[in-house]
Structure formats: structure tokens, C-alpha cells
Subunit: 341 residues, 4 copies
């Protein structure tokens, strides 16, 4: 049994993570932390977990956390996370980091998009990116994993195989993304107040969303090209689920002038993901409801006029956060990749 | 043209009120106030009203308000409201008060339920209650009107005629109420955060909701009885609309041992509201969607086993707040009762 | 491994059931049936299950079903179900019946509420009612179980202990129930069309809902009294979750004139359910979201004025259908009661 | 007073239209039709209109309609509509046609996308397209107007000024569109059943939606270019509201190599719509809720990396259907353009 702790256990991704860990045959949860001064019971913080784990959230020092657990799931805000993670690694813990701190390879790009100096810049570029479908070998046995952002997960899984195969061009990629409101976190904010967010479809972060450089970096590195994606997220009046509709130009290596057609594009995806248990390449159209509550990513592709349209759907809290974390944890420890999922 | 001001113009009821007033042929809006320090433009506070009225919200003194307008719609919190209202009346303004301050007749009951000493207790018991269908004569020409609570509006319109006619007993009345989330106001709160309130049906204020004494007082005074209602509101994952399902015992004056049946009960309601343009007594079942965006109250009644079930539906922001206010305003000034509605 | 079949596998309860069975360590799904002529793949009928079970739904005869499985989960409509169930029992299968066919003890009551003559009337009164918290002993080793209705589950779990203890009176019980739309089934109907049901709170089946006699029978038998409940369900614009707000008069055996107060009432519930892993008696207020996706029933009770208010919440598709079925299955076969849940 | 009839009065657009017409000072509704055999009362078909107009829907011949009204709002399905419209025009009625029948100029394109031969092909190309902000002069005094599709309205209003000014290129335009479910009509369908559509974000009609040629034709004709838009609509779990996020390449006539930036692009829109009362060009981000229930179209534009992103929002049932129809009606008869709106 691996003793695990969850740092910053009050959020939605942490709630889903705890629910998954409670079902995992090789895991014992030994600590949950919060920075709130009172030390609330898990069942009061997450009523849906009432009766499943009799444990209080505590204000623990990093040393106390390191003492109590072998593997730490760190759900702290960016910058705060890296400061803790480096200490945990020094204390010989393993870590799955939910923040963006170890996703970008370049400290300057990090500073530019996150507005702070990186607290552990030396480690950047050496931490595997927690997308098993792309980087499984690097994740096996890893001591620290950078758990991906939700939008990058959906976008990269959709686009990476087509980009690498040359079926789409790296230039002019548009990613129109839609997410349920849980993706915006648990803090009550004016625009997320029910009567504001309900019955509202609202673009946000147009041209400024922090997942942009993450998508560019991973797509570019994986496919050996340089992308410059235009990424526009939208808030959808639903709890969970995320869908991206990506528009790309046909790639240079395409057969003939017109590029690949729908069937050929589907074949590339099917072949790429043939052995992946959590990727479902489908002929129909993905919708968020078909993946809600699961670790699946549904993907399809269409050739429409001069564009290739790739559509993918995930549950932002599971495949986009906690499920991916458990999948990475399993790879780190050599467990069955689907354990707990 | 009557010059009107809206005090506390940032909330949802104020937004709906302004939309109605902009359509009213006899009204000119001359001032909107807020206690926020910046003086935001109406279109920024309520984007749906953008382009309809080019006016900033201001921080005005009561004297400035009194100078700028003939009639004041006061959407301030309880206690704060009465303090301002008494000054406005002294300055010869007329007032429609949205707060609970002038609804209850007894200052002690007010203190008990609202937790503060009433700032204008001498006036209690002399202010007409703004339910035109019950108190039209008192409202005609009034200088101050206590605009009713949303739940009391739906509950009283449903129960008052049956109670007055003796068709139901004053003892043991249960009012199970359901409301859209806009009824909880515009301030972002943890339990009203979209991912919390969405897909959730949640009772609240069980046994403690402040509309309880208001319902008891009005029902009792109107019907000449003493009620002791049990009132349980529930939050429903929708924007607007309010429905009450009331359960009463058949009344003593009922014909025969078993009391009146559905058809006789419907006849009482139909007769009572025969001349009311905003009350629709229906044979079918009211739902909130049929009244959303309107000033209507839909009502039906059924005899089921030993109980009389009365169901009514309103739009909490219109018939339950702003629409009633405009209806009252029309009675105060002698305009057509439906003007602007 | 028990070989199981699901008859009528296209509905929502069947979908949830299959998801639970796929996680059950002692179960192998061997057949899924439908009366649709084409034999669709499970993943096309329930896209969320795509990739989890590679099986087509088939049109099987009862004999074929009996041949392929040891235990049958029968999700057929009432009347159709009993006809099949009696054959399955004759073929030595065990059955969990989701329909209402074996819930009522009296064939006349059945005919009156369901409008048909019971096809297997001799068996009525001999089939255990599948509420483990009340009838565990009868369910252990049973060959046929009548899986309860969703509303009866929530209502009976809330009221039965209080009724049996004499804390509430059997007379004048009102059950105001609220359900997400999945409770109305999967067939597209005009009033369940999204733009009709969304943003709508709608009472239905007022005084006529078929769960009324089921609630009366079970409450009366269990507590040794005679109830005559008034039951009013409401459709709530959300997927899943069911909450009942029940109003009862204090019982005759109550201490003093005024009856038991909140703390004493809570103590009765806590004691009654002390050993039950799926019942959470809480001091706070149950909401549907806290039980969604789980087999839990959250319950609380309040004394308010002259009434006792009992509130309970379940997931209508799990504790109100498929989860209860798996719990019953576990009792029938002597597995751990929470297996698969 | 103009006598008006509404043909096919059971749908959502017709419901909104009737509500608007009831407020119009120059209109008298003289007939409502349906092809349903019973002749239901308007209040039963559209409960929200109960009490506002005491009229039955009737099965009228075209001659009867022509006799009863001066102007006909025709809400019939495509092909069925043109057959009736040509008769109504022959009988000297004026017509606002909600169908797609007179929107496309080319009978072959119509056949290709709508799958039928056009019943009144000679009139194609001579009917003004009912977008007053682009074609006001042609609409003034018109006898027949082709009321635009909802998606084309939002898309064309956003893109046309930028395209005409050369700020964006006609090549490679992507229109990612999102709509509330009322846009799919009132017929209950499996994928629009509440438990299917709720909590679901679902692309549909990818590459095949019939609004594609309509958008291309109007954009191309208005701007004197040739577009080949890629149009992808998505179903959003909300009642009403439509938002398009359009991605275009900077145009050839742009200043410098990099093209116009956000401020310059906004200036083009502001100047173009300076005199338009129903277009609100905003610096912030449009959301559907800000336009719900109104005839407004909110638009903004951003330069992001290599793309120009244009975002617009309308209420699909009002500016996207009934409101536009009333605006067109006002132009046909010379009334104030905002009458009834």
C-alpha cells in the first residue's frame, strides 16, 4: 500500500481525486491538507464524500506531510506549488503536481504568462508531462510528474497525432474550447454566481488564457514543429465536461492537392490510439455527456471544405485533472494503468 | 410624467424594475443610486439594459434623491430602507418600498425575525400591503406602499380566498415553496456558486425563513382567522420562477363531512379573481415557465384524500417584486393598473 | 462468478445498473436485451459505456435468457415484467424486478392504480420488498425481489423509523417530492423536451401518482399502522436526484403535550440507522447534489411549529433503482452488501 | 391598424412573435393557423400567452388567410412555405417568410442543401434579405421579405463590415457557433430530451448545416468577395441565445504587414453601426445572457496572434427570428423601426 497525501484538498479536482483514490486497491490516504485555519472534516468540505473517509483536513508543514506519506498529490496554486514540491522531493517523496509549475520548460515563458518568477526554475525541462498517451515511457517510475491542464489535455490528444503525421499544418491552428463551470474552480465569483452563469454562453480569456503556451510547447515538441495556436475558451452552463473544436489547415505532406479526407484522417487517429484504453476514436460526434464521470477522451475528425476539424471531449475534472493524476501515479509505481479508474 | 428614482439599483429586482419603467408611458427615470463608491454606468451594471438608458448610478444623499424625483422605488436592505423612507416621505416623495420594513404591523415581531429594532416603528400598521388583488382600495392614492415578499405573494394569492371562504382550515397549513436562484439575490455566495447550485435541489431556512410571519399576518388579517403556517422554501436550479404547493385541511364551513371537492374549490378561486387581469385560475397544473417574464400568477387547487392542495406560480422578480411595484405605482397615481406591464 | 442478464437494457436505470455490474467482482454480464428490432451495440445505446463492454443488445426469448444467465435484472414495463418473471422463476433463475409488479400485495389495488389485471397475482404478498434497511432478513437468499420505486425509497426511509417509534402520527402525512428529469424515463415526450423542462418547476401526477399505494402499504405494514399519505411529485430541471420533504403531525406516544423536538427526533433516526452504511443521518440539510452518483440516502428531521418535517435525498437512478438492485443482489447471493457500490 | 396572421403558430419563434405583436401599437392579430386537426386555444398551445389573446388556432385555407389579414407572418417549413407564399402574394397580401425558401438566390444551391426542388424558383434573387442593418433600403415598402436564419444573422452582422472594409480576408473564415436548444425547434426528439441535452455540449451538423450557403451568399454579395466559410454549430444546455466566435485571417488591405489591431477593428464596427439602435459594439465580451429576451446583437472583435476573432451574440428567437420579423414588418409599412420591440 502506498501512503498518499492530498495537499489543498478543498477544490473540485481534489474531491474527484479523493473519490478515485478511495477505490484504488494499492492506496491508503494518510493526510489531507488545507490552508484554512479551522480543520474541517472531509465530509463537511465535500458532502458527497461523507461517510467514505473519516478524516479531517489539517494545516500541516511540508515536513509533516513528507513524514506521513510516500506520494503527494499537490493541488496548490501555481508558484505556491513549486516551493512545496521541491521540498517534498528533497524529503524523498514522489509528487504529482496539479499546478502549472512544472509544465512549461522555459522560466521566461512561465514568468510572462503567470506573472511571477519561477521558484524552482532549475528543474524546468526535466519533469515529464503527464499525458501517458504521449509520454508513457518518461512517466514510468518518475518521481515528479507535471499533471497537464484540462484544455491542453483535450487539445493535444486531438491534434498531436495529426500534426506529427503531417496531416495538418502547424500554422493557423484555431482551438475553440468549451468548458463546464467546475473548470473555473470552487471560489464564488460574481460571474460564476448561478443567476449569472446559468443560461449564459460566455467566451473568456480571449487571447490571454494561460493554457496557450502549454498547448504550443507540447504540440511543437511532440511533433517537431512550431505552432502558434489561437485558443479561445468559453464558459458553458453545465457542471463538468470540456470539448474542443479545433480547426487546422491540411498539412504539407498530404496526398494530392486537397489533403486527406475524413476517412484517412480517422485512420491516423485510430492507428495512433489503437492500444490506448482511455481514448475512444469515434465516427460519430463527441459530446461532453458521453465522457462525464469517466477518464475517457472521445475524439473524431472531419474534413470540411479547406479545413480539418478535430473534436475531442473529456471530463475536465477526471481525464482533465484527477483521473490523469491517478493514471500517472499508476505509471510512477508500476501499477496497472487503470487501477482506481 | 412622473419623475422616478430607484435606490439600490444594482440588484436583480431593480434591473427588472428599470426594464418595466422604461416601457411605462407616464414615467421618466431621473436617478439611480448605489452605495458602491465608483459610479458605474447602468449598462455596465446590467448589460442587458445597455443602450436603453444612458445613465450612471450615483451615490446620492436622501435630500438629493428627494429633489430629483417624485416617486422613489426603494430597493435597499431592511432597516436601512426604513431610515431612508421616513426621510423621503417627510420630503413629500411617494415611496414603493421593496424591503420588509413596512410589511409587518408589529415592531416586536419585526425585531424577533429581523434581529434589529425597527427604525420607524410608529408607522407600522398604517402602511398598505402592496397586493392589489387583496387591498386595491387602500393602495389607490397611497403615499407609501409595502411591496410584498415574493413567497408571500404566491402563498397569499393561493390561500387567502379559500381561507376567507372557509373552504380550508387555518390550522395546520403547510406551504412547500420552490424558487429559482435569482430570489437569493445578486451577491456571490458559496452555496450559490454555479457548480454548487446547479443540478441541486436544496431546502433552506427550514422553520426560520422571514417570510413566515408575513404570510401569517396577511392571511390572518385578511381572512379574520389565526394561521400558524409551516413554510419550507427550496432552491431550484433555475434562474427565476417561484411555485408554492400548499397543503391545508378542509375548512369547518365545508358542505358535508368530507369538505369541498376540486370543482367547488376551483369555483371559489374563479369567482374571487374573476376581475383580476393578472391572476389566471387554471384547471391544469401551474409551472414556473408559464409565468416567467410576466406579471401573472397562475393558480389551481385539488382535493386529494384528506387535504386541499393549492398550487400557485409567479415570476419571483416580476409579480414577486418589480411587477407588483409597478402595479402599486399605477394604483398610487391613478394610472391604468397594467401600464408598463 | 454469477452470470447476469439485464432485460430492457436501453433505459437510464439499466445504464447505471450495467455500470455498477461492470465493477462488481462476482458478476459476469452474459446478456442484454431490448425489444427494438435492430440489435444495437451497447456503446451506441449508452455512449458513456462505450469501450467498457463489447456486447450487442439482443431480442432474446425468455428461454434463451434463462439459459444464458443465473440472475436476471428485469427492467421491463409493469405487467410485461410479471409475465416474464414468472417464467424465469420457473426456469430456476433468480430475479430482481425493477417494475412495480411485485411491490403491492393486493391484486385489486394493483389493478386500480395500474389499470391492468395482474398476470401473476398468486405470487403477490410473498415477494420481499427490496429495501434492505427495513427487510434485510427477508432479502437474504431470496429468489425474487421487488425493487422499490424511487419515491417510495426516499419517503419510506425517511418516515418509517419515526412512524414505528410513534414519534409521528400516521394521519395526515404529506409528502412533497421533487425529482430530476431522468426519473421520467428515456422516451422523448413533449413536456420533457429540453426547452420545456429546462427552467421549469412543474408539479405532476397530483393525487394520482402510482407510488402512493406503495408508500402507504410499506409504511403501514412496517409500522403496524394505517397511513393515507398525500403525495405530490414535482419535476425539477436537473438530471438526477430526488428529495422528499415530508410533513407529519407529532405522534401520540410523544413525550408531553408538544411532542418530540428536533434533537430527540434526530436521535431516533440515528439509532435506527446506526449500522446502515448507505444511510447518512445528518444535522444539516440534505440536498440532491450530495448524493448524486452514490447509493447514499441522506436524511434529517426538524420540529417546526406543529409539524415534524423529515427531509431525505437520494440519487433516483442509484439508491432509487440500480444501486438498490445491486444491494439486493448481494443479499440474495450472500456477497458483501456494498460489493459493486 | 394592420391586420396580421401567423401561419404555423405552434412553434417557439411564433410564440415570441405573437408576444411582440400583442405589444405593437399598429397591429391587430386576426388569425393564427396550425395544421393540427384539433383547433387548440392559443393559451393551451403557449401557456405563457394565456389571457393575452383569446383566440383559437385554426386550419385555414390560404384563401381564408388572405381574406382575414393584410400581412402574413409565415412560420411554415421550407418548401411548404414557398407554395403558400406565392398564393398569398397573388392575393395581394404582404408576407414575412420565416423559412429558408426565399433566402438563397440560386435554385440549384437550394435543391442541393434542402433536398427538394424550389416551388417558386422564379422569384429567387428578387426578394430582399431581411437584415435591416445591411439592406434597409430594399426592405422599405417591400411586399415579401426573407427573414434570415438565426446563425446567419449573428455571423453576418459580425463579419460583413470587416469583410467589406478589407480588414479580414474572405479566405479561410471559420465560424464556430453555439446555440440554446430552442433553436432546434419544438418537436420532441431523442437528443433533445432533457436528460440527454442537459449537461451536454454537443457539436452537430458538422460540415452539413444548411445555414452555410446562406452565410456565404450574403457575405459574398454584400462585400463583393467570395467566401467559403467553415461553419460548425454546437448545442448548448440553455433555452435561448446564440453566440458565434468567428476566426478570420487579416485582410489584404490592412495597414502594414501585420494587419489591423483590436482598436482599429473595433473602430470599423463602431463606425459601421453608429446609427443602428439594435447593434451594440462593445469593448467587453458578449455573452448570450446580455441579449436574451431582446432584439439586440452585441459584437466585439479582437486581434489575437495571426487571427482576427469576431464574437457576436443574439437571442435566436428574437433578433434571430421574431424580432427581426417585426423590424422588417415595420420597414415594410413605414412604422418606427423599433415599434413593438
Amino acid at each position: 500500500m502506498i501512503r498518499v497525501a492530498v495537499l489543498g484538498a478543498t477544490g473540485y479536482a481534489a474531491r474527484e481525486l479523493i473519490a478515485l483514490l478511495l477505490r484504488h486497491p494499492e492506496v491508503q490516504i494518510t493526510a489531507l491538507t488545507t490552508r484554512q485555519e479551522d480543520q474541517p472534516h472531509l465530509g463537511d468540505v465535500h458532502p458527497t464524500l461523507r461517510g467514505r473517509l473519516d478524516m479531517q483536513l489539517q494545516n500541516l508543514t511540508t515536513a509533516e506531510v513528507a513524514h506521513s506519506a510516500d506520494c503527494i498529490f499537490c493541488c496548490l496554486p501555481h508558484a505556491a506549488s513549486a516551493a512545496v514540491v521541491s521540498e517534498l522531493l528533497a524529503a524523498d517523496c514522489r509528487v504529482v503536481d496539479f499546478s502549472a509549475d512544472y509544465r512549461l520548460n522555459d522560466a521566461d515563458v512561465y514568468s510572462q504568462w503567470y506573472g511571477v518568477t519561477h521558484p524552482d526554475a532549475d528543474r524546468l525541462g526535466k519533469v515529464p508531462y503527464g499525458l501517458p498517451e504521449l509520454y508513457r515511457e518518461q512517466l514510468q517510475g518518475a518521481r515528479l510528474v507535471a499533471n497537464p491542464g484540462c484544455y491542453p489535455t483535450a487539445a493535444i490528444l486531438a491534434l498531436a497525432p495529426l500534426l506529427k503525421s503531417g496531416a495538418i499544418s502547424p500554422e493557423g491552428i484555431v482551438i475553440d474550447a468549451k468548458s463546464g463551470v467546475s473548470g473555473a474552480g470552487r471560489s464564488a465569483k460574481a460571474h460564476l454566481h448561478f443567476p449569472e452563469a446559468n443560461e449564459n454562453l460566455l467566451p473568456y480569456g480571449v487571447g490571454t488564457h494561460r493554457h496557450t503556451p502549454e498547448i504550443d510547447q507540447v504540440l511543437s515538441n511532440y511533433a517537431g514543429v512550431t505552432t502558434d495556436v489561437v485558443f479561445t475558451p468559453h464558459l458553458v452552463p453545465m457542471d463538468r465536461g470540456e470539448l474542443i473544436t479545433a480547426y487546422a489547415n491540411p498539412g504539407a505532406t498530404n496526398s494530392g492537392n486537397d489533403g486527406l479526407q475524413t476517412e484517412e484522417l480517422l485512420a491516423i487517429l485510430r492507428q495512433h490510439y489503437a492500444d490506448e484504453q482511455f481514448i475512444r476514436v469515434i465516427e460519430g460526434i463527441p459530446g461532453t455527456k458521453s465522457v462525464a464521470g469517466t477518464n475517457y477522451c472521445d475524439i473524431t475528425v472531419r474534413r470540411v471544405r479547406g479545413k480539418v476539424i478535430v473534436i475531442s471531449a473529456i471530463d475536465n475534472l477526471i481525464k482533465g485533472a484527477s483521473g490523469a493524476a491517478v493514471q500517472n501515479f499508476n505509471l510512477m509505481y508500476g501499477f496497472e494503468e487503470s487501477a482506481g479508474l
